[in-house]
Subunit: 394 residues, 2 copies
């Protein structure tokens, strides 16, 4: 079964569970402004205004422009296929009247990007199309549907993520012997890309601007910035944030290296203590990660572990879900900050896959980070990445 | 000057022209749900809620999450850069209060995809952030700003499109001698991709699902469907819809071939007449295409040319703008159909680049199409593609 069919097969039970009578995807030019739910349940793009309708009874209805029809038909996912030439609204109203749903989920969300693929213009277009019907007032966010569908990874999906992690760790293993002081961040990034390109079927997991991200020394810029011409010096901590996509699924891992100064055979105590604190905070968070706890609780364990030892708190969430994209949406291990909205109160579910990625600054040396990936089991979690346990020394 | 700087330089005059005091881009995770305006005036992606503010006075202000800040700074386009950790709304309200704009354009549009990159969830987030200020009621569509900024191509942009067209025509020229009856549509598509890959720096202009699209014979599916295992037979018309991206700009061209039957040295009169009608309808449309006429008027000239000769009308628009993406947004040569909204009434502007792509069916043989690209000049238009004038015979 392909991944789109596998995801479509999960939809009816999830709609029943959350009490939604109809999940309506409504989009146009989806190649240009892309609703991430299309990857899950459509499996390709459309040009003209298109509606994809899914119900708890297993209906799969597509209403698409006449020239998109053949492409949707060839993909084979939507048995009930309606084409139009002039405009979509008449056919859409007909189908809605026949189904008469009380609760209609559409793809918008204040908090979850992955449930927020409908543009505001398409929302207004939908409201206009539904004028004079009762359905315009029955629209609500699909966030619970999308969160469950995207978050609950099948075994096949978890194995894809595990395989992407293994490739990434292997790339780090091949990188370490090539490293030496005097390289620039950009040179290290280029080496990582070379190592990736030597394996067929791997692409970067996110924007090549900052994948890989490489940071060395006390002046480094922080996450989500690209590598610079800054030179690695003895005494620097260097960290890398990097992920690959393999068979449609991503990894996203961080690792930390220390560059020995003349005469040193190990890292200075402050560096070692920083690294050990990161590793221990990840273990502490993983130890309480299981179905039913909230993302806020898990974040708080790692955050407190770090601040209790006298470090500043990390200026971001502890971890995000990962899957077809590196940041895979709702269900976040994060604090109660405005930018995270209601996400810290969501409860962890079985089969979700999370990153764990705290960070701290070691004064005068740089930033210590590790990022690991775990899958939630019935009673806890299992590691999808082979964790970094010892600081890499160069 | 890079393309983002060139586009940013156009912004103040366009804002003055349309009477907008502030253009506000508001987005998050822009790699996943991508606002196409980011390619024009941001030049990279952001992770957390971010605001980019542009004014007629030339202000360029960015408010971004702390970990995005370094990346935005490195790109160098936004001189006035504000980072935040907890939430964006306080900084956003401060900046708005200082600028006190009366008319604020944001990226939503009923009709134009390229102006509709803001999600409905981000619209609601913005309204929430502006509660208690007068600015929530001053929001309007950016469609006139985006249409002008995206549509008015600089000379450098027009030359990029011309170069992409030349590569595409060269690929067709190399393809023709390789064609013979007995090939499948998929085999022809693979040959086109091979020819493209033999030139460095070219990628497909749209979704590989249906780029190239190849249709042969009377049963072919119509546009926007991928190639099938259908076999080319003598007596078939075959057409190809294909474009490449070169240096960030696209081509999108269609061409028509006829496969001679035993004993034939030219196409049957019905096929020739169909092809000639297409070529003449394109010329007729190009002859009236100039600043000030509406897209509906241009479409109507080609459409009537075809229906006057006894063919059914084509079930789509005559042409679209082209640029960084194949379907480059507002300003469409299209009829007054519901799905096109107000677009047919927009007036053509100097320096826009349009495709011209009518089609018609020749009973028993297949579909005749050509697609050419023109740039609007002060008094008419000039061809960016070397037009197909004679039916290709195989």
């Amino acid at each position: 079964m392909d991944m789109v069919e596998a995801k479509l097969a999960q939809v009816p039970a999830i709609l029943s569970e959350v009490g939604i009578d109809l999940w309506l995807l409504f989009a146009r030019e989806s190649h240009t402004v892309h609703d991430p739910c299309f990857d899950l349940v459509v499996g390709g793009d459309v040009t003209w205004q298109s509606a994809f309708l899914l119900t708890p009874q297993g209906d799969r209805i597509a209403i698409v422009g006449s020239l998109d029809r053949a492409a949707v038909e060839m993909r084979g996912h939507y048995r009930d296929l309606i084409g139009y030439v002039g405009g979509i609204s008449e056919e859409l109203r007909k189908v809605l009247t026949r189904l008469d749903p009380q609760r209609i989920a559409i793809n918008f969300s204040l908090d979850d990007t992955m449930s927020d693929g409908m543009t505001h213009g398409m929302f207004l277009t939908l409201q206009k199309a539904l004028e004079g019907t009762p359905y315009g007032t029955r629209l609500e966010s699909s966030d619970r549907v999308v969160s469950a569908l995207r978050g609950r990874k099948s075994l096949a999906e978890r194995e894809c993520i595990r395989a992407a992690c293994a490739e990434t760790v292997a790339i780090f293993d091949r990188l370490t012997p090539r490293l030496h002081a005097g390289l620039t961040e950009k040179q290290v990034a280029a080496m990582i890309c070379e190592e990736m390109e030597s394996v067929s079927g791997l692409t970067l997991a996110w924007d090549p601007d900052h994948c890989p991200a490489v940071f060395t020394g006390p002046e480094s810029a922080g996450a989500h910035a690209g590598p610079t011409d800054r030179v690695i010096e003895p005494g620097h901590i260097m960290n890398v944030d990097f992920g690959v996509k393999k068979d449609g699924y991503c990894s996203d891992l961080q690792r930390t290296w220390y560059f020995l100064r003349e005469g040193e055979t190990e890292a200075p105590p402050a560096v070692q203590r920083g690294f050990d604190t990161i590793v221990a905070s990840i273990r502490a968070a993983a130890a309480i990660l299981k179905p039913g706890v909230t993302g806020g609780e898990v974040d708080s364990v790692a955050r407190t572990h770090i601040t209790d030892r006298g470090y500043a708190e990390y200026p971001h969430a502890l971890g995000h879900q990962i899957g077809r994209v590196a940041h895979d949406g709702a269900g976040l291990l994060c604090p109660h900050w405005e930018r995270y909205g209601a996400l810290p109160d969501l409860r962890i579910e079985k089969d979700q896959c999370y990153t764990l990625e705290p960070r701290l600054t070691v004064e005068g040396h740089g930033i210590a980070t590790c990022e690991e990936i775990v899958a939630v089991t019935e009673t806890g979690c299992e590691w999808l990445s082979r964790a970094q346990e010892r600081l890499y020394l160069v």
